[in-house]
Symmetry: C2
């Protein structure tokens, strides 16, 4: 994965450097920063590339909960910088600063760092500070939480799907609801991130009522908490039976489309093979 086609910031000048001189930090130092996806949490699902990047790094930066998913052995002898949940900007700063000091740095993210993870913020900050030529960034992908959740539910994402975060901290609720309605009306399977938190309590209920109105009360909803981590919980319920109070921010919901079925406690969204080829399928089972 590492290679010139995958490195960042070497190819052309930052597009707006001239207009933001006072914000910029020109200089001669350069650094390397890997934004690494840890996958859902189980070491069995950690890509070797992610493991290798952490092993080779001098500095490891991350949210406390994610640092806890890394084998302690891997962190030995490294500088580790972690903060709590709302410290995203601080963590990105720290990682960029360390990289600029010439220390190979990784910033770790749960799941995939490019899906509601740290990759975007790192790149935004690098742009703001005009550091494009000084920090080489690479993104090492991971298995996203939505994929881990889907695998535990069966095969709910076999057809077109939309992914929406209910967090209205950075996105207006109107836009979130607009996207949800559009996805439901176009019969996408719908994946919900950040469904509910201690402070954000009514949004999921509102979404479930939209689902009932547009798809009916018996559409299956897969609810996965702590996918592939300690405390994993998996259940499938009709939308009318989902208790929003049982859902927290460690949970992902996957809402079926009009075709999604529940078979022996698994959720499956057929792609249409049976309709097209069903009659021709002959199977010999001993």
């Amino acid at each position: 994965m590492r290679g010139s086609s995958n490195s960042w910031g070497k190819r052309r000048k930052p597009d707006s450097a001239q207009t933001k001189v006072q914000q910029c930090h020109p200089g001669s130092g350069t650094g390397r920063l890997s934004i690494v996806g840890l996958g859902p949490g189980s070491l069995d699902l950690l890509a070797p590339a992610a493991r290798k990047a952490i092993a080779l790094a001098r500095v490891v930066v991350g949210y406390r909960g994610y640092i806890g998913l890394v084998e302690p052995e891997l962190l030995k002898g490294k500088e580790v910088f972690s903060t709590g949940m709302r410290g995203e900007v601080e963590r990105c700063h720290k990682a960029i600063e360390k990289a600029l000091q010439g220390l190979d740095t990784v910033i770790v993210s749960g799941g995939d760092p490019g899906i509601y993870g740290m990759a975007g913020l790192v790149l935004e900050l690098i742009k703001r500070e005009c550091l494009e030529e000084r920090v080489e960034v690479e993104v090492i992908p991971g298995i996203p939480a939505l994929v881990a959740a889907a695998s535990l539910l069966g095969a709910p994402l076999m057809h077109d799907f939309s992914v929406v975060s209910l967090s209205d901290l950075l996105t207006p609720w109107d836009l979130i609801l607009k996207r949800i309605k559009a996805a439901l009306k176009a019969d996408f399977v719908l994946v919900i991130y950040n469904p509910r938190s201690r402070k954000r309590r009514w949004q999921l209920e509102a979404v479930l009522r939209e689902v009932e109105m547009i798809r009916g009360s018996s559409v299956p909803v897969g609810i996965v908490r702590n996918a592939a981590r300690d405390g994993q919980e998996v259940r499938i319920q009709d939308v009318k039976d989902v208790d929003p109070g049982s859902v927290d921010m460690l949970t992902i919901l996957i809402i079926g489309n009009s075709q999604t079925q529940v078979v022996a406690n698994k959720m499956v969204t057929p792609r249409g093979y049976m309709e097209k080829y069903g009659d021709k399928i002959e199977m010999e089972v001993k």
Copy 2:
């Protein structure tokens, strides 16, 4: 990942077994079938759980191109069954039959087996043949192609996104286009699978024109061919400059939303941190 909460078909009777007796194959044999995601192709991105499942299997089933991604060493001494592109149903049959013979079987899928992969078809067939009690299925997730592509482009999926396949083999074109329009109007980032094949030539062009109409001609489009495989190609272009003729079925397109930017040849869809916290961000760069 293996464990009772993740196994399939043991918990309750198939819901319609009684009405389809003549199709069913009751019997005493049982088998174990793992549907395994190989990730995008690079061994560096293959999850240890997937490797382990292949190593432990007696039979490995898969599309010829995907079997080629598995280390030859891993396949030694195993029965390998592969077919060409249109052999999905045949491969699933074979895998189920082998599992029923009591042979630990894996069926491999590129990327994640639950995203336009083999997991759904296996479960559909098992339901059709009423084998829910006889075949224990588990899905081992992999890094999907869309995630590998996004990581090479930068961070285009930092905000809500929709995923659509342009293959109209099993899905009517009207429904595909309806979903594309809905996603564009609700300002989702849009991921396109199966954009173009030798026989399917005009659909991508039609989609790009919709994008221009709804998002304007300068929205960035990331185009990744063979993500994390031999022959990898990555480029970012304004939608008006994309040449559909340069795109084939090994390509994934990621179409930015109204906020997506190109910074130093990377695509970033900001999540809004800068708008919310930008003024407060002070960074010391030496």
